[in-house]
């Protein structure tokens, strides 16, 4: 696989070595193309993916789902099951909750070894921050109109979540807000709370 690694290629190697690490021998670059195999691609993509969260994540997910199902069972029972020919409103939710509990227990017993959950990393805080800005947006939008919250939300997402430059963030957040104003208020005259 020839891909210029995005870290140092060969720190301080001889020119020849460095060139070789770059891509084959530089003179024959387009000549030979080694075949891509599924395994190569899979491992390469796997490397890019965040680390697995391990067994505990599956256990937690299964327990949460089982708890949800159990709550569903309890509430359906409270609504009344009735009989198959004359079902009460709780019958169907009861059945569904039952499936959910059974499957969660099965996941807990047999499926927890499958490492398909992703570990949380420091960048997961970005998601928390993102949700925070949305919560802020919704609380304010009814009172203050959408312009200022939109401006702030775009700016925060660009500058702090997206790590764009200050200049870019300020400029773009104004442009985006103006564009939304033109589209939603002027062009579509949607009854969204707005200041101007």
């Amino acid at each position: 696989m020839i891909s210029p690694s995005h870290e140092a290629v060969t720190p301080g190697g001889s020119p020849k070595e460095a060139a070789a690490a770059g891509s084959g021998s530089p003179l024959e670059v387009p000549a030979a193309v080694e075949p891509l195999t599924a395994e190569q691609l899979a491992t390469e993509w796997d490397e890019e993916r965040p680390p697995h969260a391990g067994v505990l994540a599956n256990v937690a997910a299964a327990v949460a789902a089982a708890a949800l199902g159990a709550a569903g069972l309890a509430m359906s029972l409270a609504m009344g099951l009735g009989t198959p020919e004359k079902p009460e409103p709780g019958m169907w939710p009861f059945l569904v909750s039952l499936v959910m509990v059974v499957m969660s227990v099965a996941l807990l017993l047999f499926g927890r070894k499958k490492l398909d959950a992703e570990a949380f990393s420091s960048s997961s805080w970005l998601v928390v921050a993102g949700v925070g800005t949305l919560v802020g947006f919704v609380t304010v939008v009814g009172i203050a109109g959408f312009e200022i919250p939109s401006l702030l939300l775009t700016f925060v997402w660009l500058r702090f979540l997206g790590k764009e430059t200050w200049r870019m963030s300020i400029l773009l957040s104004f442009i985006v807000t103006a564009a939304f104003y033109v589209i939603f208020v002027v062009a579509l005259s949607v009854p969204i709370p707005h200041l101007f």
Binding site: L36, L41, E48, M79, P89, S150, L188, I192
Partner: protein, 510 residues
Amino acid sequence: MDFFAPVINGFGVVLEPTNLLYCLIGVVIGMLIGVLPGLGPAATIAILLPLTYGVEPVTAIIMLAGIFYGAQYGGTITSVLLRLPGEASSVVTVFDGYALARQGKAGTALGIAALGSFFGGTVAIIGLTLLAPVVAGFALDFGPPEYTALAMLGILLVATVSNGSKLKSIIAASLGLLLATVGRDTFTGESRFTFDNLSLADGLDFVPIAMGIFGLGEILYNLEERHNKVQAPAKVANVWPSRKDLKESSGAIGRGSLLGFFLGILPGGGATIASLAAYAMEKKRSKTPERFGRGAVEGVAAPESANNAAATSSFIPLLTLGIPANATMAIIFGALLIQGVTPGPQLVQNDPELFWGVVNSMYIGNILLLIMSIPLVGVFVKILRVRAAILAPITVLITVIGVYTINNSIFDIWLVIVFGILGYLMKKFGFEPGPLVLAFVLGSLLEENLRRSLLLFGGDPAGFVGRPISSVLLLVFAAVMLLPLLQKAFKKARASAPATTARHDEKERV
């Protein structure tokens, strides 16, 4: 010509300027999101649902369908040029497409892919035109028991065929069914799971759930840095494939189109599986299988024809039975319901303009795709220079403002945020969001038909087995349910053979 009159009328519908315009918009948006990593067609269609409120049902569905099949082609561009599949359905195109690009034949690969997509799409539309009325006619006799069995089978198939853990998918599906019960019970009028909240009394709307789980969930998931790899821009020269390439790939295009068409009809099938199967078939048939992975044009032609054909034919179960075959179809189903159109066997008869309008718009859409894709590849490649960080706040604002505009309700925005968090967590923990949304859409239909059938049978569940169609469907249901267990036993008996065609566990970008 009784059969063809409505088909011709359908063309009249498509050729209305508004519909043409929306078809173009849909196809362009589809291409764009297909090219950009991150948001997939299901997420995009979910986010754009509010846009469809103000327009005619035909127009809305024409646009949404355009997004869906446009994305199939857009994903190819990045597969070929950057070894980076924009959509899950273009993963196999990477092998030979990228190899061709490295030989300086990126243009050939893209040109063949465009032609193959066009051909596959067209074959599938013709198939859809001929087959859909037949299926619909057959399904007209379906009663509540058949619908119950069909809906259950549809949900199960989508849950088991999707990537990732089957157990988790079934859990997600049952959560979707449970969410569908929130609100007033249609039979007894009693409130269920409303927690005395007035906003919940009428049940949960489909739109905030789809927008939250697919749209916002996806946006939040992408906020964590994932697409870190930066690549140098690739050059695209001579997009027109040579006569020799065309000759070599024509067989592959034909076979891929047919295979894709049939795989697309099956519930739970769809573009991704179709492309994998077409590639595997072509490699097996080839006299020189060692060429595959080194730049065989057939290796691009077959999967690309197949995924477009499948994307088109997956409309058949939706439009004729009212059972969506995959997550994207579930959202289009929701969009139809919003418009007051219930997809099902009656659709062809009751609303021929909508039916044939949507079907025939796909011809136009495919032609538009062909026209745009070949000369405009360079433009779409330039879009890849836009950083994800810039698109994220724009999409998030479209989502929250869009959902508000539907009911002018702040509560709906809260719902989107809650379901967005749920969607994000589901993706993190390896739960597919598709089965949940599909089950939610089918939830009330399933419960209603189940209760009706039980009334019909006088409370005896054995009645399902007494009717031929429902018993066959239930038999298939049981087989699908037990198949993984049998496979596991079989696998244990044989030593493990790590013959994964591609990374099956790749999370389908929705």
